[in-house]
Subunit: 246 residues, 2 copies
């Protein structure tokens, strides 16, 4: 039976903000890098899929970080696939410090698309062919929430440039998160309370588009919506800091 796979990381100077702790997006970037490396190593990475005109696309993601690790700290990301559906596969992660203490976790859901039609394909065959890669351990936290509606009270615009795009010519996942978080006060972003981010991708945003990023504060959470060139939502997200009970 398959086991969780472990990948080692270190908080480098380019990963920290001025609190000298890893930023949420640098941790998110390591999580996504782990997904790519693990799929690549197991023979169902983007390289193999591209040869068949397919690719993985991230559909939804939830990340929880209890405390952000300090600069030059080593940490380990464990990853495993818990299940394949017809449309989505679920890949899970836990983040642990050098002493083995878990300080974060993530649940991601991936679709496989046809690169010509850009629409989802049935991925049951991956489940069959790579059934031995499934680890029967449930996700470490609640799966990514669907964010149904955002009513922005503030908006900003961003034109998609070269440094925003990834190997698929779409806006890089963590760049979306940066665009959203950059709308919040720096004091809110650098506080060291546990945080949960849910992000939900509906459409792809491409080079040259002008994005509208909207933000709504709702209770303890901040909701975001990004849309491209005046169309309907492309990305929705929610960020929630868990303040200690007072």
């Amino acid at each position: 039976m398959a086991e969780k796979s472990l990948y080692g990381y270190r908080v480098e100077p380019q990963d920290v903000d001025f609190t000298l702790r890893a930023t949420l997006t640098s941790l998110g970037s390591s999580i996504l890098n782990t997904a790519g490396q693990d799929a690549y190593g197991k023979g169902f990475g983007v390289d193999v899929l591209n040869a068949e005109n397919h690719s993985w696309v991230l559909s939804r993601m939830a990340i929880e970080i209890d405390r952000r690790p300090e600069q030059y700290t080593d940490y380990t990301i464990a990853t495993w696939i818990s299940d394949y559906g017809r449309v989505l596969s679920t890949r899970n992660f836990t983040l642990s410090d050098a002493a083995g203490g878990e300080f974060g976790r993530a649940v991601t859901q991936w679709a496989m698309i046809d690169l010509t039609t850009r629409s989802a394909v049935d991925l049951s065959w991956v489940g069959r062919e790579h059934n031995d890669a499934v680890v029967p351990v449930p996700p470490p936290t609640e799966r990514p929430r669907k964010i149904r509606e955002v009513t922005p009270t503030r908006t900003t615009e961003h034109r998609v440039v070269y440094s925003d795009i990834d190997f698929n010519r779409h806006v890089n996942t963590m760049r979306y998160v940066e665009m959203m978080l950059d709308m919040l006060p720096v004091e809110q972003l650098t506080q060291d309370f546990p945080v949960r981010l849910d992000i939900h991708f509906l459409k792809e945003c491409r080079y040259g588009q002008t994005l509208r990023i909207g933000c709504e504060e709702r209770g303890q959470a901040v909701l975001f919506e990004i849309s491209g060139d005046g169309t309907t939502a492309a990305v929705r997200a929610s960020v929630e800091w868990k303040r200690p009970e007072e």
Copy 2:
């Protein structure tokens, strides 16, 4: 006598553009990361300096990339300090592929600043105390060029946000490079000719400032100038692609 130190890297999916080759800024980021790691490991890193209210600040940098390595390729960065002046120390780099073929090189010049006054301090003492860290091998290419004047023909603006800033609360070096390169057509950025980037830092740009980024095409080169809040130049740079002789 000291020897060059070697650091291993791999081109990860988040490092490539849609040509599936490492971006110039991801290679630049690895170069700067190597500088930080090497100084840290040898006992004169930002961690030790901060304790004495000092820090390293990059003053000038030249990067030459002959060909951009492909995704999932391993490469090695060799680094050495060739000399310490009273104001600047020179740290050099060569980038080599798995077969040992050199595909890039860089020369960086660093000042040490007092964190309270933000002005340069005499770093002769580092040269004395860490003289054994100097490797008597000259820089692998021409030192960074001073860029004296830029007359922009096009400009754009950028407000400095949280994701732009580094542990010093200043704009991250590679983010400056991204802001500049993002003004050029994507076809120019993805061509695979040898490229040389010279960048020259005059002032620090901080969170909340509105930057003006100007661009001037001059012969084979593109020159850039960034200034903050309507003041004089904070950063100047030049990028030159070397097209094959026709």
